[in-house]
Symmetry: D2
């Protein structure tokens, strides 16, 4: 079978590689960066140098998988594709899109007869070898069409169809929120052990925990690797942690649905704090303490 | 080799069973409940019907493993054993003891020459088959003496010696704190998916996530089992969740060491809330809202 | 001067009462409930029995103050008014509207030349006597027109104009978020004192704290009143606490702007928990504990 | 009447000043710093240059008020005083002592017949003029003896006797925990307003809120002062916030009593974060993100 791929970055490039390496499917691959297209061609893909070329090289009904940054770029790409695709074709958004946007887009494309599917993808840079865990949403026809591709991208039995458009990204959003909480749980634990009054070899702890303990997990395996590479003090790393949106969206949905998500909140805010957000709040606290207690406050010139 | 076992409940009984089944070591086993002793004898252990008998059946230097409820019972058992043991013997506390108590006890036993080791044990009811992940603290001589026992109790390469007395339970305490956070992370995720505006089969989500996703873990495997057994709504279960102490201790240590543990706090408080703790605080909120806003409050007679 | 008032409930009715009692301004008052209109007439207002009648009784440029439930009712009322008002008239939304909606509406009304102002109002049922603390947003012309009304509704020097449309409700939203945090802070304190191992008369604590302590506040005065009326155990009250939206909106804005608001999150989630939200998460925890530890779980039939 | 005062720092010095200024009571004042003694003498106190001298200048039954740093210094001072005082004398600890220590000390002093009272004191540097809000614990006889002193130190009706030794500091501890939560609530609010997409004059907000709003309080008055002195950006201040112990103790007590205190936890951890605690946890997060996602992490050399 045939599929178009738009976006050949770290994730998309590896996915094309995996499809070409492990199946007979044909991928028509486009990226604004010609080097990325050349790399895909090197893996066996048919290169395209524009959306128009990509669409023209696909047989109907077409499948076009988007693996581009969420937000404006995804939005613009879909708008452009909408003008090129036809009734019965399917756009698959494999990126990190908010599921509310999936629902909206799916409705917007309906009058044109263009189908919309969303596939949340987990697995990171390991997916090329291990396979990508995939959470799909969208119409049954599109998912049936997509099945052979999902079969090769995922590990054995490693994808599910959860419902109409948005369902895939919803489950993926929750996946990432859970990931935030798990990572924060480990991080607090390693922080306390690092602060313990006696030295603890954290690589040994992470390694041991993966041997029969209740907290064994893939993240704990990665922690062992990280301590092995970076040392017990992680001295080369800076404690500055980005967030990619899904944690925020899950917070918002929890608030909307009145589902308390305090561990997620703790995890997201810990990332904010790591970036010195909340600093102004701390200055307010210092100012108030100075007012009522005459507590010395640090002034900028002193630090 | 030979070891004494005090406490043959769910954990201790299985551990004796595993030692007898998988090694040639001799276990002298005591429990106040004669049926538990009989069961251990059935697995091949030498039964004892008092601490005195247990001690008398062990060759010097003796190893006595305690697997009894933490707190007063552990404390009393150690006091009794102190009167029976001799210089060079080792008491091993395998229960859920606060590591500060290990440090204290170790010092108290020093003048008598009795050694003290602590072994934090994870793995739950699955340990009989999978092996117990074991985190040890105490003097090198004791741990060396204990090694053949740890080798059979643990899965392959599944125990570590982390330092002086208390180190084992410290790492185990953190293990449990991490466990609280991970469990809360999953629970919030499943809660939100259960509240979603479209039905999601949570057994499928848990199963899928274990196939290549970032959040794959043993707990997620257990979640799949749980949904399979209890159904998507967990309708037979009541949302009342106990805590066993380690989470509280880790909170306290974090506070003492100025290590923020907000995800752990969220997890512990979520368990408190599940037990209707905090209800009085909610009544204070209702009372205040009524005072300033005239907001209707529910009165007891109405509910 | 003259103003129209739409919505004569607990808040709007009292505001009309205060204007008529304390000034010579003329209020034209409408509410779908004729009794509310009659009450306003009793306080000196000119009654109106439809939006059309209200608009027809106002001289240009008109001022129409909305004091109706936020969301759909406010939206529908503004739509209806838009068809009745003319260039230079001002709609004032005095309710609990999300400031993002104010910004949108203000733009939507611009082509028609209808001005839009938003006034966040605090003070609750005490406002009739004490005055309402008022936070205003909107065009300078509208606020200048509105000034005599704000002067009589507010306590001395008790209103401010914070910027364009939305600014008033933004500051009011934050006010409510702060209120959530303060209330939760007191509630946790009183909860702990109520749980203390010796009896503490909480009315005495609240009363004392208002005499020179750092935490003296109006809410603490209300707490004293509440304990006086309801007793130390608040035994007649049920710990079920609603939230009215602003706390959620402030959470969302904090997430959007990367401003950590952990105390607000704690406060909002505490209210969710008081309503048994999060119960499903607790059942997930119970199910997991049962899986790995064989911990007894409560089944529905047992409770 | 007569009272001895040990500790003439910022708090103790002002308290002696207030007693001498506003009453006929005689204060015998000691501090290791002779200048502080001289200042107290200047306010009318009788100076003492050792604990022995202080005790010798007091008539029996003696009252000795300690206003020294909590922890070791308080402990040592009480030990020294225990050797100097006699049956029927009372030690009053007016500092920031953990109430569990009060209970212990009270019992330790019982065999000697020395009484022990604890007085939690709020009001900060404003207490000299406004009076100190005082929360007392200890035996009735001691509090009766102390009454004239409390009457002059407190504002009108501004002290209470809450129970046996420890009760005063318990209520004071909760007072400070509530203070943490309130301060954090305001700080989050001002932080969000400072980050708003349009400029907001925070001095105006704080000032306005004190005029009839639900969140009016003394802390909000201090916020107005702070913004007036430091400007809208608090640009001279550094966001580094200490904590003085009571918040930690209240957390610990809440954990012990199973009372959820999530707003307090948020407040305490926000202070930890302001001091870069939790940085190691953030490095763990960065390391994990790098492992699974190939996410770029900042290295020390880059920053």
């Amino acid at each position: 079978m045939q599929i178009g791929f738009v976006g050949l970055g770290k994730m998309g490039g590896n996915m094309v590689h995996r499809i070409e390496r492990d199946s007979d499917h044909e991928v028509v691959a486009f990226d604004p960066n010609p080097e990325a297209v050349a790399t895909a061609e090197g893996h066996g893909a048919v290169g395209a140098h524009s959306l128009e070329e990509l669409v023209s090289k696909l047989e109907k009904p077409r499948l076009v998988w988007l693996m581009v940054p969420s937000g404006k770029i995804t939005e613009d790409t879909i708008t452009a594709l909408t003008g090129l695709l036809e009734e019965g074709d399917t756009i698959v958004d494999g990126g990190n899109t908010n599921w509310h946007d999936d629902q909206r887009r799916s409705k917007e494309l309906e009058p044109k007869g263009i189908r919309y599917a969303d596939v949340g993808t987990s697995g990171g840079v390991w997916g090329l070898d291990v396979g990508y865990c995939m959470m799909a949403g969208g119409p049954d026809e599109s998912i049936a069409h997509l099945k052979p591709i999902l079969d090769v991208l995922a590990p054995p039995d490693g994808w599910r169809h959860f419902g109409a458009a948005g369902a895939g990204h919803f489950v993926k959003m929750v996946h990432n929120g859970v990931e935030y909480g798990m990572m924060q749980a480990y991080a607090e634990g390693f922080d306390l052990m690092h602060a313990a009054p006696f030295p603890i070899e954290l690589k040994e702890v992470a390694g041991l925990w993966n041997r029969g303990s209740v907290v064994r997990s893939w993240l704990c395996e990665l922690a062992e690797l990280a301590f092995e590479q970076e040392g017990n003090d992680l001295a080369r790393l800076v404690g500055y942690v980005d967030d990619s949106g899904e944690g925020r969206w899950m917070m918002n949905d929890g608030i909307e649905m009145a589902v308390p998500t305090p561990a997620l909140a703790a995890s997201l805010y810990a990332r904010f704090y790591s970036r010195k957000e909340g600093d102004y709040a701390a200055r307010v606290l210092a100012a108030l303490r100075n007012q009522f207690g005459g507590h010395a406050v640090k002034k900028v010139e002193e630090t």
